[in-house]
């Protein structure tokens, strides 16, 4: 078949203060008409930069094509004027980005943003462009497109925004669609739907797709051919079956070996460390047995947020974030809470240490009722439960050296004398495997994984019994994610810590947890020992959630027909709404399934 894009000996340089840096090194590949080419690699390997250079949108003054050329439809893009490039962008080459939350202009309606690109390239009047914009929104399955076209981006969910982005990108029937990690920021159910949507639209319109990702499971779902990149270079290229069945390069092999496969832990009783990219044999770790002694007992926890309205700012409705949730965490064990964003799993974590005040229920930590403590005792109790948050970039103070940030809880509680503080912080740095020389550094000098280690060191400082890890590794690269998770498991073995692990990533949850709870719309729909939940999911929502996880096998692709997730209903109810209590049935030992209605 004919080549649509051919990239020949492309070199891209970044100009930094330290000098020029080669970001893309002698890269060549082609994309044929109507095929999907996946470019896979870890962050910083130059895959996004390559995509931007194909759009001729490299940030000026920072990145520059130093040699090589890009042919699109037999035209050398470098020889086109800016005006000619503008005519191609969004028209013949279009692009969707990673962050659906910020990729749309917040001040224009989505209808305006879709019709804008049509008017720009198709010479239609306002009314006709609007009509075809609504048709496009329908094609990407936005419900009630004629009404939703008048919505602003903030009124749409993340998944819907990404659908709008796809509508914009496909508005002018481009010859190629570049998708730069379009599902990385989305929930697993939404990811499955978006991937299936891109596949369907690709079949219908015959556009070629250049799909950029770091996730081999996504590659298996999407690709016809695959290019594997490793720091700036192409290390391997082949059809998707060649890559998955017969990888040649060491890096490709290790990348494939590190992919967690859902179900592979079914026969294993205890959590196991993640496999690392490039690691010959997994690190031996003592089995994380834990105990059967309860540490934290949560009974009938309910958390509702007031919605204020009117002139007098009275409560007019309530967000039912957590509804009648009960669970127990054993000493030395990990309980994972999984569910889509908005299901209330983070609110559970925050309610436990009363960062948000629960409406009712019991939280019992080692015999102490947390919810009845006065502020002074609560402060003391908090030293037993510490949190690690999702975003390692914003949860550290950029203005203070790391030593102070790790030492802050100790100074705050006054538990350690000043003379031994230095030594104690040094120990903590050793524990999270950061060199002690980092103590006087500032957060911006660290990578994401290193910052998350600091956040863990800070949480460990007070010798807590329980650590709540709220999507603690979701913002990290796969290989860094694995390292941080392994560190957490090592700490669990050494210190007998308990974890409440809040995550939306089923593959990670399967490796790290002893017990799993699945949440939907504020309710815990299923809870039990991890092997039992994954082997024998009983609740329809758990079953669908597991079905949505992409499988790293190109022969097991999902189409839109296989997926029928209902949109999450609104958790906002008026003041009179009084939901029924949750009732459970024990389907296996300690494995409970919700029998009452949860809205799914």
């Amino acid at each position: 078949m004919e080549d649509l894009v051919s990239i020949n000996n492309l070199n891209i340089e970044a100009r930094t203060r330290a000098g020029t840096l080669k970001v893309v090194n002698d890269l060549s590949f082609t994309i044929k008409k109507s095929e999907t080419l996946c470019v896979v690699g870890e962050s910083g390997c130059g895959k996004s930069v390559t995509a931007l250079s194909l759009m001729s949108l490299l940030p000026e003054g920072i990145l520059k094509v130093s040699s090589g050329d890009i042919l699109f439809d037999n035209t050398n893009l470098a020889q086109l004027s800016e005006a000619e490039l503008e005519g191609i962008r969004g028209n013949e080459i279009s692009m969707i980005f990673q962050e659906p939350m910020t990729s749309l202009n917040p001040l224009f309606t989505v209808g305006e943003q879709v019709s804008e690109v049509i008017r720009r390239h198709k010479n239609l009047n306002k009314e006709k462009a609007w009509v075809s914009a609504v048709e496009l929104l329908d094609a990407v399955k936005i419900p009630n497109p004629d009404k939703r076209a008048f919505d602003y981006p903030f009124q749409l969910s993340g998944g819907q925004r990404q659908r709008v982005m796809i509508a914009i990108a496909l508005a002018c029937q481009p010859k190629i669609l570049i998708a730069d990690e379009p599902t990385t920021a989305l929930d697993v159910t939404i990811q499955a739907e978006i991937l299936a949507l891109i596949n369907r639209l690709k079949e219908e319109t015959g556009t070629a797709v250049m799909f950029i990702t770091h996730d081999m499971a996504v590659v298996a779902q999407m690709a016809d051919r695959v290019v594997v990149m490793h720091p700036g270079k192409k290390v391997e290229e082949g059809t998707v079956h060649e890559i998955f069945n017969n990888p040649q390069h060491e890096y490709t092999k290790s990348l494939l070996a590190a992919v967690p496969k859902l179900g592979e832990m079914a026969s294993k009783k205890y959590p196991e460390p993640m496999r690392l990219v490039g690691e010959k044999k997994p690190k031996a770790l003592k089995p994380i047995i834990g105990t059967n002694e309860p540490l934290l007992k949560v009974n009938n926890l309910v958390t509702r947020y007031p919605v204020k309205g009117g002139v007098l700012r009275r409560t007019v409705a309530r967000v039912h974030a957590v509804e009648d949730v009960s669970f127990t965490i054993m000493k030395g064990k990990t309980l994972s809470l999984v569910g889509e964003s908005g299901c209330g799993k983070s609110t559970v974590g925050r309610s436990l240490i009363r960062l948000v005040e629960p409406t009712s229920g019991d939280v019992n930590l080692d015999g102490q009722n947390i919810l009845s403590l006065n502020p002074k005792d609560m402060r003391k109790a908090r030293s037993n439960i510490q949190m690690v948050f999702q975003d390692p970039f914003s949860s550290l103070n950029p203005q203070r050296p790391l030593f102070d940030q790790v030492a802050e809880p100790l100074r705050n509680y006054g538990t350690v004398k000043r003379e031994v503080l230095q030594e104690k912080i040094g120990d903590l740095f050793d524990r999270v495997k950061l060199p002690r020389s980092f103590m006087q550094r500032y957060p911006h000098q660290l990578s994401g994984g290193q910052r998350q280690r600091i956040a863990i060191a800070r949480a460990l400082a007070l010798n807590p019994k329980l650590i709540i890890a709220d999507e603690a590794v979701s913002a990290l690269d796969v290989s860094v994610q694995a390292q941080v998770l392994n560190l957490m498991m090592e700490l669990q073995v050494d210190l007998g810590l308990s974890f409440l692990f809040i995550s939306h990533d089923m593959a990670v949850v399967e490796r790290v947890s002893h017990d799993v709870g699945v949440m939907y719309l504020g309710r815990l729909v299923e809870i039990g020992p991890r092997p039992s939940i994954f082997r024998n999911p009983q609740h329809p929502y758990t079953q669908d959630l597991l079905k949505a996880v992409p499988i790293a096998d190109p022969d097991k692709r999902k189409s839109e027909r296989d997926l029928n997730f209902k949109p999450l209903p609104s958790p906002i109810h008026d003041l009179t709404h009084n939901p029924a209590p949750s009732e459970y049935k024990e389907v296996a030992k300690n494995h409970f399934v919700l029998t009452t209605d949860c809205g799914y």
């Binding site: 005006a83 503008e86 202009n105 224009f108 720009r120 903030f154 914009i168």
Partner: protein
């Protein structure tokens, strides 16, 4: 908003009350002295013998009925005096505010396109000069320049009384010609702030993801800049413009004095010199009104700009 006005009125009254001497003293002074009995008579006449809270209540009611008292210097009701001057100040303040916003935003956008370039440096220098130079100094400088060297704009007053036409437009352009220099002077301080703010905010927005999306749609540079980026970077500028409205009003007092612009500023200046307290307090209430209305306009503009803002 009404609360702010009420608080100002009450504070006004307190100032009046706390200041040494009262209206009776002032009147007695102008009459060249009066005996105890006449003074008591006067106090009774003005309700000054009433208890404090009754006096306060009476004062608030009078203000609500637009009765600000009587100016002894001009021998006119304060309200009439202010209404005669108010439109001139309003014209000056609003035209200066709009001009400085327009120029400030324009320069800010221009500078943001190339933040390290020569044009950006020029805009920075220009705005630095704008807010470093005291407004009366700029005023006097322009005054000298345009009265002595390039006499194309009148440097004093608001109208040319020698014009004998009854045509509306002749008078309109006459006022515009007079307005030019005071407006420029007053705007000179504020456009500097706005351009700096707009530049910073544009720079931030230009790095945003949706700007990249706009470029990826194939929009022209102009559309990316003026449609997608500018609208998103306006809100800090508008917010600051609202906050600095009171500063513009107080700046207007200086400018009016320099150019003998017949507005509240000159009136305030004269009242200070002649210790005409009722007039001063009336002006205070009017400026409060102007500033609160300005803030309300800011809020409404922000709401119109950003659908996420609820009032």
């Amino acid at each position: 908003m009404l609360l702010v006005l009420l608080v100002v009125v009450v504070l006004n009254f307190l100032m009046l009350h706390l200041a040494p001497g009262d209206i009776a003293d002032t009147i007695a002074q102008t009459m060249g002295g009066a005996d105890e009995q006449d003074m008591a008579e006067l106090r009774k006449q003005y309700g000054l013998d009433q208890p404090f809270f009754i006096q306060l209540f009476n004062y608030v009611v009078r203000v609500a009925l637009l009765d600000f008292g009587h100016s002894h210097f001009y021998n006119l009701p304060v309200f009439d005096l202010i209404m005669e001057r108010f439109p001139a100040t309003l014209l000056l303040v609003f035209s200066a505010q709009i001009l400085s916003l327009f120029v400030g935003i324009l320069l800010g956008v221009y500078a943001a396109q190339n933040p390290n370039g020569l044009s950006s440096l020029f805009v920075n220098m220009f705005s630095l000069f704008g807010y470093a130079a005291p407004v009366f100094w700029t005023g006097i400088l322009l005054l000298i320049a345009f009265s002595l060297h390039i006499p194309i704009f009148p440097v004093s007053g608001m109208r040319d009384i020698t014009i004998e036409s009854s045509n509306f437009f002749v008078h309109f352009f006459d006022v515009l010609r007079h307005l030019f220099l005071p407006m420029i002077t007053l705007a000179s301080i504020f456009f500097a702030y706005y351009s700096r703010l707009c530049r910073a905010s544009m720079l931030e927005v230009l790095g945003a993801d949706f700007v990249r999306t706009a470029k990826a749609k194939g929009l022209s540079k102009k559309d990316v800049l003026l449609k997608h980026a500018l609208k998103n970077s306006l809100s800090p500028v508008i917010t600051f413009a609202g906050l600095s409205f009171s500063a513009v009003v107080s700046g207007a007092i200086l400018v009016e004095t320099v150019y003998s612009w017949p507005g509240l500023g000159t009136l305030a200046f004269n009242s200070i010199i002649s210790r005409d307290t009722p007039v001063l307090l009336g002006i205070l209430i009017f400026s409060t009104l102007m500033v609160t209305v300005g803030n309300l306009l800011t809020d409404l503009t922000l709401k119109a700009l950003d659908p996420r803002i609820k009032i």
